[in-house]
C-alpha cells in the first residue's frame, strides 16, 4: 500500500468523499486507487496476481474517474483486491497501468461507483489534488 497520508475522508451527508493528492498525476491516480481498495476490502493474503488495465476517456479527469470505476468493476466481477499499481502510460486521453493483488479475502464496503461530482484536478505547491465522491 502507498502511504496512508495520500488521502483523507471528507464529510458527505450520504456518500463517501475523499481528498486525494500526489506529487504528479500518475501518483494521484495510484493514491486514489489505493484509497479505494483500503475502503472496499481487507488486503488479500497473496499479491501474486497481475492485470493490465487500459482506459480511454475524453480528458484526464474523466480518465481518472474511469480508472477508478474500472477497478470497482474488476473488484466486483473478478473478486480481486489490488494493493500495488504501476502507471505504464498516461496521456491526456489514455491510461495504461498494471495492477497487482490477489483474490479478495474480505469485503468491507460496497462502493457502487466513482462519480464526476465536483471533479477537478488542482495544482498545489506539492503536486496535484482532487476530491472524489463515491456512491455507496
Amino acid at each position: 500500500m502507498d502511504s496512508p497520508n495520500s488521502y483523507e475522508r471528507i464529510e458527505h451527508t450520504a456518500d463517501l468523499a475523499i481528498r486525494v493528492w500526489g506529487p504528479d498525476l500518475p501518483a494521484l491516480f495510484i493514491n486514489a486507487a489505493s484509497a479505494l481498495f483500503e475502503m472496499m476490502s481487507r488486503p488479500p493474503l497473496e499479491d501474486d496476481l497481475a492485470r493490465e488495465v487500459v482506459v480511454e476517456a475524453p480528458d484526464s479527469e474523466a480518465l481518472f474517474v474511469d480508472w477508478l470505476n474500472h477497478l470497482i468493476y474488476l473488484h466486483e466481477v473478478e473478486h480481486e483486491t489490488y494493493t500495488r499499481f504501476a502507471i505504464v502510460e498516461l496521456t491526456i486521453d489514455t491510461l495504461r497501468a498494471m495492477v497487482y493483488g490477489g483474490k479478495t479475502l474480505q469485503k468491507t464496503k460496497t462502493i457502487k461507483a466513482a462519480t464526476y461530482h465536483d471533479l477537478a484536478f488542482h495544482q498545489t505547491a506539492d503536486g496535484y489534488e482532487t476530491v472524489v465522491v463515491f456512491d455507496v
Binding site: 475522508r9 464529510e11 458527505h12 451527508t13 450520504a14 456518500d15 463517501l16 476517456a57 475524453p58 480528458d59 479527469e61 474523466a62 474517474v65 474511469d66 470505476n69 470497482i72 468493476y73 466486483e76 466481477v77 473478486h79 479478495t104 469485503k107 468491507t108 464496503k109 460496497t110 457502487k112 461507483a113 462519480t115 464526476y116 461530482h117 465536483d118 471533479l119 465522491v133 456512491d135 455507496v136
Partner: protein, 482 residues
C-alpha cells in the same frame, strides 16, 4: 447558498428564484418547513438543486422533497421535469442504483399473536435473504435468463414461480417497463448483475418487520389492506451491480456527446444528452432494463421473505400469504404527461430519491386503489417509524406527482460511526423491542436512527404541502441490514 437566497412561498414551500445563478432556466422549489430548510442549508443540497435547474428542457421548477440532502449531481430527494420534445435525459440525475425502491408486504396476522417469534423471524430472514457486501445470490443468470429479466422484470420472476400475478398487479408499472433493447446494456453490466439477482445489497438497503400502529385515513387504509396491529414487511433494494454499471457506462459515454451537442452543465455528474438523440434513446433503453432487473430483484426478495416467514410461523400463518401492498421506484426516469402552460405535454421526469405519487383516478394505479390514490411508501429508519401515504390530485400541479422517499440522512456516515457503536446500537434497539441484525457493526452504525432526519416531520411537510397524504404509520420490530 444561504437562507437569504431563498424565497418563502408559504409555510412548507421555498424557492430559489430564477436568476440566483446565471445558468438557471427555472426556479428551484423545495418543500420544507423552517427546520428542514436549515438542515438542507447545512450541506450542499440546495446548491445541487439549483444546478439541476440548468438542464435543457427543464420546465416550471426543479424540485426537492423534504427528505432532501446532499448527493452527487442532483440532491437526494430531487425531481427534475424535462420536456420530452426539446429536453435532455441525464443518467447522473437518475443515479447509480437505478430503480432503487421499496416494496411493502402485508400479512393477515396481528403482531401480538407472533411476538414471541420475532427474534427467530429476524434470524430466519438473515439466513434466507442473501444480503451483505459482495455476496452473490441463489439465482445465477445465463444470458437468456438475463435477457428475460431485463425485458420482463418482476413478471420474469413470477413466471419462475417466485411470486404470483397479484404481486405484479400491485407493483408500479406492473413490475416491468417497455423499451429495453439488448444492445443498450453492456456485457460488463450484465456480468456485474449475473450473480446478484435476489440479493439485498448493503448501504441503506434493508428488510424490516413492522407493526401498523396508527391509521390516519381508515377508508384508504382498508383499500390498501392495512389495519392496526398488523404485521407487515418492508423491503428496500435496487438494481445491484447491474444498475450501477449501466449508470457508470452512460455517465462516461455521454461526456463527449454532451460537448458535441453544445450543452453546458454546472456539474459534470449532470451529464446529459437530448432525449430524442441516439445517445438519449440508448440510455433510456438501458435504464428500462436496469429498472426491470430491480423489480425482478425485489420480487425474488419478497419470495425469500415469504419463505422465511413460513419457516418460522407456519403453524400460525398456515397457507395465508403475505400480499404485496405496493412496490415503488424512487430512482428512475419516467415518461409522464402533465399540463404545461395549459397544454398536455410529454415530460421526462427524473426522480432521484423521490417517489411517484399519482392521485385518485389515474389509470396507472391498480383498480383496487384507483379511488384513493397510489400508495407512497416512506421508510423512516430502523429505530422510529415508517409511513404509508397516498398520492393526491393536486400533486400533479404541485410536484409533478412526486413525494418524499424516506426520512433523508441528516448525518454523514463517518460522523455516525464516530458517534455510534454498532454493538451498542443493537443492544439499545433490543431494549426497545427491535431486533436488528447486520452484516457488519460499522454498516449498522452508519444507519443508526440518529443519522436520519425526523421522519414524522418530513411526512408532516409532505401532508401539509398536499403532495401526498398520511394513511398509516408502522414501527419497526426487526430489521436486517446488508
Amino acid at each position: 447558498m444561504n437562507k437569504t437566497d431563498l424565497q418563502r412561498i408559504n409555510a412548507n414551500t421555498y424557492e430559489v428564484p430564477l436568476g440566483t445563478r446565471e445558468f438557471m432556466r427555472v426556479p428551484g422549489r423545495l418543500y420544507a418547513d423552517e427546520q428542514i430548510l436549515e438542515s438542507a442549508l447545512g450541506d450542499r443540497a440546495i446548491e445541487q438543486l439549483t444546478n439541476t435547474t440548468a438542464l435543457p428542457g427543464v420546465t416550471k421548477w426543479a424540485l426537492a422533497m423534504p427528505d432532501v440532502h446532499q448527493g452527487y449531481g442532483p440532491p437526494i430527494g430531487g425531481v427534475v421535469p424535462i420536456e420530452e420534445a426539446n429536453g435532455v435525459i441525464s443518467p447522473g440525475a437518475t443515479g447509480y442504483d437505478i430503480n432503487c425502491g421499496v416494496r411493502l408486504l402485508r400479512s393477515e396476522l396481528e403482531v401480538d399473536a407472533v411476538r414471541p417469534f420475532l427474534e427467530e423471524l429476524v434470524n430466519a430472514l438473515f439466513r434466507f435473504v442473501p444480503s451483505g457486501v459482495g455476496k452473490g445470490g441463489a439465482v445465477r443468470l445465463d444470458l437468456a435468463q438475463m435477457d428475460g429479466v431485463l425485458r420482463k422484470g418482476a413478471a420474469w420472476a413470477v413466471a419462475q414461480d417466485f411470486g404470483t400475478e397479484e404481486d405484479t398487479a400491485f407493483t408500479e408499472e406492473g413490475g416491468s417497463m417497455d423499451g429495453y433493447t439488448p444492445e443498450a446494456i453492456s456485457n460488463e453490466a450484465k456480468r456485474r448483475g449475473d450473480d446478484q439477482l435476489g440479493t439485498l445489497g448493503s448501504g441503506n438497503h434493508f428488510i424490516e418487520v413492522g407493526e401498523v400502529t396508527e391509521i390516519y385515513d381508515a377508508a384508504t387504509a382498508t383499500a390498501f389492506g392495512l389495519f392496526p396491529g398488523q404485521l407487515v414487511v418492508w423491503i428496500h433494494s435496487g438494481s445491484r451491480g447491474l444498475g450501477h454499471q449501466v449508470c457508470t457506462d452512460y455517465v462516461k459515454r455521454f461526456q463527449q456527446p454532451m460537448r458535441d451537442y453544445g450543452i453546458v452543465v454546472p456539474d459534470r455528474e449532470l451529464v446529459c444528452a437530448p432525449f430524442a438523440s441516439p445517445e438519449g434513446q440508448a440510455y433510456y433503453a438501458a435504464m428500462v432494463g436496469a429498472a426491470n432487473y430491480a423489480w425482478a430483484n425485489r420480487q425474488l426478495l419478497a419470495h425469500r421473505v415469504r419463505e422465511a416467514v413460513l419457516h418460522v410461523l407456519k403453524a400460525r400463518i398456515g397457507s395465508r400469504a403475505l400480499h404485496t401492498v405496493y412496490d415503488v421506484a424512487h430512482n428512475i426516469v419516467k415518461r409522464e404527461e402533465y399540463s404545461v402552460d395549459g397544454k398536455p405535454t410529454p415530460l421526462i421526469i427524473h426522480r432521484k430519491g423521490a417517489t411517484r405519487a399519482f392521485g385518485p383516478g389515474n389509470p396507472a394505479i391498480p383498480a383496487d386503489y384507483r379511488d384513493v390514490g397510489q400508495p407512497v411508501l416512506v421508510p423512516g429508519n430502523m429505530g422510529t417509524a415508517s409511513y404509508v401515504l397516498a398520492g393526491t390530485a393536486q400533486s400533479a400541479e404541485l410536484s409533478f406527482s412526486s413525494a418524499c422517499h424516506g426520512a433523508g440522512r441528516a448525518m454523514s456516515r463517518s460522523a455516525a460511526i464516530k458517534q455510534v457503536r454498532g454493538q451498542e446500537l443493537q443492544e439499545r434497539l433490543r431494549k426497545q423491542g427491535i431486533f436488528v441484525k447486520g452484516e457488519s457493526w460499522e454498516g449498522l452504525a452508519e444507519e443508526a436512527p440518529e443519522a436520519y432526519k425526523d421522519v414524522d416531520r418530513v411526512v408532516k411537510v409532505v401532508h401539509e404541502a398536499g403532495i401526498a397524504r398520511k394513511v398509516a404509520k408502522t414501527v419497526p420490530l426487526g430489521v436486517i441490514k446488508g
